[in-house]
Structure formats: C-alpha cells, structure tokens
C-alpha cells in the first residue's frame, strides 16, 4: 500500500518571487531558510508524488461556478497566469499530473462517502500551487494532484470539511495499491489582508497568528476547529486569512499530531507559516 510519508504547510506569497532573490534581504533570510528546510525534508523522504492543496485566487474558479473542493485529474497542468507573470514576475511552468492517485482520491465512479469533491481535467494552476512547488521542489519533477479549496469566495466550506478533506486524503493514500511514497504540500496564510483595510501593513492580527501557530505546534486540532468555525473572526483577521484552513487540512491528514517543525516567520510581509510533519 502507498504511504503518506510527509506533510508540509508553507506560504505562497507571490511577492516573495521578486523580493527573495540573491542576495536575499536580511528580513527574508529566515523565510528562505524555512523553505530550504522543507525542500530538504521532501528530498530526504524520497517522495514519489505530491498532493498539493491550495486555493485558486479567483482565476480558474469564479462565482459563475464556485466549487468547495476540486481535485485535478489532468495528465498535466500549465502553471501560473498572465496577470501573475505581470504582477509578480512569475515564470510559466509545466507540471505532470498523477491521474492514478487522483482517481484514488475522488473515486472513479462514485465519490467518497465522507466528502463531495469536484474534479477538473483542464486547470491552469495559480501561484498558490506554483510558488510552493518552486521553493520546495525546484526541479518540478514530481507528479502532482492539485486540490483547490474555496477559501476566498464565500460561502466557503466549514473548517470541519477541511478536516474531512485531510482525513480522507490519508485514507485514500493508505488504501492505494501502490508502493508510492506520497507527500502532502499545502499552502495558505496566517492572518493576511489583501485589498481590505489592513492591506500590506504587516500582520493584521498577531494574536490570531500566535494561536494558530500553537494549534500546529501542540497538535490542537480541536482548538483550530473551535476558532476557525467563526468565519467573522477570521475575516476580521484579514480577507485572505481563511486560507489558513489549508494547514488545518494537513494537520488532520497527519492525525492531529503535533508538527515536527512549526514556525511562523515574521518579515516585511504578513507572517509566513512553516509547518512540517515527517516520518524520518
């Protein structure tokens, strides 16, 4: 059977792409170092395939058709969008998909009983997939199963559905008749406001950041569920803060156990999440 060998949560802040270049500015060196830590962990765990959980930023999915969760079933994916190349200086990439693993996750004929997943066979991945992969696996050589979570277009799935997603991913991977070593790479935000009243003014809510780091460090899934059940609380911490729930999905996938590494890194930007669960 396949094995879930690693989960990691990282930022996908696309402003890093221009800012974190050689020489890396002093305030971004801890972020570069934490990405390197996770890059080394993925290599050391000899991962064969990555489930990449992110949130499409209203590029592929919009209010004409806004699914809660989407699993990519494509053979391959184009990475990043024209507006992201323009705005963030990102580079177009090509990524191989992993159809067999995607089928294990969605079911080929009937969806899993525990969660309803939409599927996509044509999906251009935005920075919430491309940026973490470029830092964590710059070779871009691992086949991926991208999963979109709607964390930006209310109504959004509840935190318990993110937990259900994480638990389902573990089950699906462990039921897969394969010797593959699978990792989950998820990305999101701590408190973060883009376009709201506290746009780009450091962390909009350090108290949330502190609590949210502790849920991962302590393996406090119930604590995360309790606070993240309050959409308004997260909205007040910034309009992009709900993407923190992508890390909650990783915590649930790892059985709610404390992260082996949990750091929330301050910089000129909103604070950056780095959580890692390994098996080596």
């Amino acid at each position: 059977m396949a094995e879930l060998v690693l989960a990691a949560a990282t930022p996908h802040n696309p402003l890093l792409w221009r800012a974190m270049n050689d020489p890396v500015p002093d305030d971004l060196q801890p972020i570069a170092a934490n990405f390197a830590r996770i890059r080394e962990a993925v290599a050391a765990h000899e991962v064969d395939a990555l489930v990449v959980i992110g949130t499409d930023h209203v590029r592929q999915f919009f209010y004409d058709n806004s699914p809660a969760f989407v699993v990519g079933k494509a053979e391959s994916y184009h990475g990043t969008w024209e507006n992201e190349v323009r705005t963030f200086g990102m580079e177009y990439v090509e990524l191989a998909g992993h159809r067999e693993l995607a089928d294990e996750i969605t079911g080929r004929t009937v969806l899993p009983e525990t969660i309803d997943l939409a599927v996509s066979l044509e999906w251009r991945l935005d920075h919430s997939y491309v940026i973490p992969l470029q830092y964590v696996r710059p070779e871009l050589d691992l086949p991926v199963v991208p999963i979109h979570t709607n964390a930006s277009m209310p109504p959004v799935p509840s935190v318990r559905r993110f937990v259900a997603l994480g638990e389902h991913l573990r089950d699906a991977i462990e039921r897969w008749d394969s010797d593959a070593r699978v990792g989950i790479l998820t990305s999101g935000h701590m408190a973060n406001d883009v376009g709201g009243p506290r746009t780009f003014a450091g962390s909009p809510d350090p108290d949330f950041d502190e609590a949210a780091a502790a849920w991962m460090r302590d393996g406090d899934l119930e604590g995360a569920i309790r606070v993240c059940s309050d959409f308004q609380r997260l909205l007040e911490a910034g309009c992009m803060t709900y993407q923190y729930l992508n890390a909650v999905a990783a915590l649930a996938a790892m059985g709610g156990r404390p992260a082996d590494f949990a750091e929330v890194t301050p910089s000129r930007f909103a604070s950056s999440l780095f959580f890692l669960w390994g098996s080596r």
Binding site: V58, E82, S152, P154, P197, R198, E236
Partner: protein, 115 residues
C-alpha cells in the same frame, strides 16, 4: 447593485495584459464596450450589466467607490495595481499606491463583498 458583475468586469480586465492596456487607455470606452458585448438571451451565457454608479466608478478608476460597492477586496487590489502601475514615478510607486489604496478603504472597514 451587483457585486457579481463588478467582480466579473474586474476579472475581464485584470486577467489579461491586453485588456489592462486597453482599459488604461480609455476606461469609459472599455467599460461601455464590455457592457455592449453581453451574450443576451440566445447567445453564449455571458450576462453583463452594471448600475450607473458601478459603471461610473469603473470609468473613473475609482477604487474607493468600488470598495464601497462591494468589490471582492483581493480582486479590487490587484485591479487597482494593474490599472495604476503605469503612473508610477521614481518618487511614487507601488508602496505609495498601497498607502493611497489603504487610506481610501480603511475608513470603510470591512464591507460585505459577498455577491
């Protein structure tokens, strides 16, 4: 008021370099041409409508008004960035645009942006 249509027009501009360039050159002309291109009852599903206040806010590149009208904050910021970037000078660039944008929206607090 249709927050959905406001967001739809923002995307119609912001996702494409060519559309950004056209809009920057003639905001009112592009918004009116966009409205005129609706699919209609028998065409492809592509409804387009804006209230006069929404149309005028786009014609004026007025991010303060668009925020009040309930544009999605994330989309609105990147739209603002895209359509003001060409006005950056050595003394007033991205950081100054961020400051102007935040000063315009902060007094309004969190506006209900759910369509």
């Amino acid at each position: 008021m249709s927050k959905y249509m406001v967001d739809k027009f923002i995307r119609a501009v912001e996702l494409s370099d060519a559309a950004v360039a056209a809009y920057v050159a003639d905001p009112a002309g592009v918004v009116d041409a966009w409205l005129a291109g609706a699919g209609g009852p028998t065409g492809p599903s592509d409804d387009r409508e804006l209230t006069p206040a929404e149309r005028d806010a786009f014609a004026a590149r007025d991010y303060e008004a668009l925020y009040a009208l309930g544009a999605h904050p994330y989309l609105l910021w990147h739209f603002t960035e895209a359509v003001y970037e060409h006005e950056y000078t050595p003394d007033s660039g991205w950081r100054e645009l961020v400051e102007r944008y935040r000063a315009a929206v902060a007094p309004q607090g969190i506006v209900d942006y759910i369509p």
